[in-house]
Symmetry: C2
C-alpha cells in the first residue's frame, strides 16, 4: 500500500477506559499536533458526545480529511463496536463509524485500539519496512496484531490478533474468556498475579504478594522479584517466556514472519533480558529462534491515536482493508 | 480484490515431481480448456525447457494474457524458486518468473503449489466467499495456506502457510525439518508411518505395518485399521486429530477465521468422521470449535493449475501480492 502524501492531516483518537485522547496527525510521517483530552463517560451515548466534542476541539480539525478512532473492544470492518468491557454500560453493538461520520461530516474509521498500536509500530516504529509483521503486547493480558502484505488483518469479527487466547497447554490454567491454558494465563500480568497468589498459599515464596500488598502485582514487582532472585518470580517468568516462545515461534512459521515486535508493560519493564530469555527457550515453536527476530517495540508516544490516524488514512485513500 | 472479468484466459501450470500439467483457465469462473502433460525432467534447465514446450502447446496459448505456475518449492515474491526437493537436481535458486517471462514474451507469475491449491479453494471451492481463510492439506506431510483480506499470504521467504511445522509438543516426535513435535509428525502420513512401525516393534498392534507390506502406510490402510478397530490405528488417528484441533483452533483465534478448509489424501479418505473427531477434540485450541467451522475441501480437478492461473490473474491486474 502506498504511503499517504505528506502534509495530509487526520484526527487520531485513542478511546480508553478512563480517558479520550485526540491529536491531529500527518499519517505519512506520524508527526502529531494539537492534543485534547477528555474523561471517558459511562454509556455509549455519552461517549459518542464526548468524542464529537474532543475531536472538534483539536487544533487542525477544520483541515482534517477524516478521523481514525481506536476503541477498547471488537470492531468489525464496518466500524460497528460489539462491546467495550472497559467502558461502563457499553454492552451492546454500536455503529460508531456510521454515526460519527454523519455527526462530524467527515469520514470516520474505527478500529480496535491494540490493532492501532500495531499499525503505529508497523508504519513508524520497530516494524517499519516489514511487509509481514506480528506485534505482541504483554500487559495485564496479552494482545497483538498481524500485518500481512502491508495490510492489517482485522478478521471477520474484528478479533484478529487475539494471540493471548492461543492455547499453550490444553487443559491448563483457566482463562478469563472461559478457555484453558491460553498464552495470557502464563504471560499476562493478571495470570501471573493469580498464579503467584496460588503458589504463595501452597508453599511458594511470598515476595510478589508482599510487594503488591492490597493491589495487583505490577511489572515493577516482577522486575524486583527477578533482581532479588525470588524463586517463584523466576519460575513464573520462565513459564511466561516459554509460553511466548512457543506461540511466537509458531505464528512466525505459519505466516513466515522475519520479525516480531514485543511491547507492553511487562516487556517494557523487563527489557532485553526478557526478549533474550524468550529467544533462548527450549519450547520455541515452529522453525525456532533463528527463523524470527524478536525486537522491542518503539514505545511511540500516543501510539494508539497516531496508529488510528494512519489506519484511517489508508482506508480513506480507497484501499480496501 | 475485484475478480477478473470473465472471458480472460491465462495458462495455469502445475509443476509436479513427476509431471507437468498445463491448462488454459478463465480465472473468473475457474473453467479450464486445453490440457497438455509432460514428464518432469531432471534439473532446472531441462524443467524450464519443458515448461516452455508445455505452455506453448496449450489450446488458448496465443490469446492468453499471462501464465501462472505452481511449483513444489519455496518461491519468493519475485518468482525466484529457492529449491525443489521433489525435483532431481534443483538445489539452487532459479529466477523462474523472470526467465520464463523473457522466453515466453508474456508475464509469468510463480507460486508455491500448495498455495495455488489454497487459492483454488478460496476462490472456487469450499472457501468461496470467505475474506479470511486457512486451508490445511493432510497428506504425506501437512501443508496449507492463509488468505487474509482476500489476498494470499506469501511470506517474506515464500514460506507462509507452513502449518505442518507448527509445534504441537515441544521436544516431541522428530520432524524431517530438524525440529521436534511439529504438527506433521502427528498428522502427516509419513509421521504416522514412522510411529506405527515404532509401536509395532514395542508392543503395539501390527495391522498397519502388515497392510503396508514393503511400501508406505497409505490413507486407505488408515481407513481400514480404523474400520477394524485396530488399537494402534485408533490411537494414532486420535493423536492426529488432537494435533490438528490444537493448531487449527489456535490459528483461527490468531487470525479470526470463521472457516477452515481441510483437504489432502488423509482427510479425503477418512472423510467427515475425521473432521468431526477434530472438532470434538478436548485439545481444540483458541476459542474452541464453536469459533471456527471445519469444512472438507472441494477437491477441484486440476486445482493446482487452476489456482496458479487465478493467482496470476490477480497479480497481472496490478494488485500487489
Amino acid at each position: 500500500m502506498a504511503p499517504s502524501p505528506s502534509g495530509q492531516l487526520l484526527i487520531g483518537v485513542d478511546l480508553g477506559g478512563t480517558k479520550i485522547l485526540a491529536r491531529a496527525v500527518d499519517p505519512a510521517t506520524g508527526k502529531a499536533q494539537g492534543r485534547v483530552k477528555h474523561v471517558t463517560p459511562a454509556g455509549p451515548a455519552a461517549v459518542l458526545d464526548a468524542l464529537v466534542d474532543t475531536i472538534t476541539k483539536v487544533d487542525g480539525w477544520s483541515e482534517a480529511a477524516g478521523v481514525g478512532i481506536g476503541v477498547p473492544g471488537f470492531v468489525d470492518r464496518h466500524g460497528v463496536v460489539a462491546k467495550c468491557p472497559n467502558i461502563e454500560g457499553w454492552d451492546e453493538p454500536v455503529a460508531v463509524a456510521a454515526e460519527l461520520t454523519e455527526r462530524l461530516g467527515k469520514p470516520v474509521v474505527v478500529a480496535n485500539d491494540v490493532n492501532c498500536g500495531v499499525v503505529a509500530e508497523h508504519r513508524l516504529g520497530a516494524g517499519r519496512g516489514q511487509t509481514n509483521l506480528l506485534a505482541v503486547f504483554v500487559g495485564t493480558g496479552v494482545g497483538g496484531g498481524v500485518v500481512i502484505n502491508d495490510t492489517l488483518a482485522v478478521g471477520d469479527r474484528g478479533m484478529a490478533g487475539e494471540i493471548g487466547h492461543v492455547t499453550v497447554e490444553p487443559g491448563g490454567r483457566p482463562c478469563g474468556c472461559g478457555g484453558f491454558g491460553h498464552l495470557e494465563t502464563y504471560a499476562g500480568r493478571a495470570g501471573i498475579d493469580r498464579e503467584a497468589r496460588r503458589r504463595a498459599e501452597t508453599g511458594g515464596t511470598e515476595l510478589l504478594v508482599e510487594l503488591a500488598g492490597d493491589g495487583p502485582i505490577k511489572s515493577r514487582h516482577l522486575a524486583r522479584g527477578l533482581r532479588d532472585g525470588d524463586p517463584t518470580t523466576v519460575e513464573l517468568l520462565a513459564e511466561a517466556a516459554d509460553a511466548l516462545a512457543l506461540v511466537i515461534g509458531n505464528a512466525a512459521a505459519l505466516l513466515d514472519l522475519p520479525r516480531v515486535v514485543l511491547g507492553g508493560g511487562v516487556v517494557d519493564k523487563l527489557g532485553q533480558p526478557f526478549l533474550d530469555q524468550i529467544a533462548a527457550s527450549d519450547r520455541f515453536g515452529g522453525f525456532g529462534p533463528d527463523f524470527v527476530e524478536l525486537v522491542a517495540a518503539d514505545r511511540i508516544d500516543d501510539a494508539g491515536a497516531i496508529g488510528a490516524a494512519v489506519l484511517a488514512a489508508d482506508q480513506l485513500v480507497g484501499v480496501s482493508i
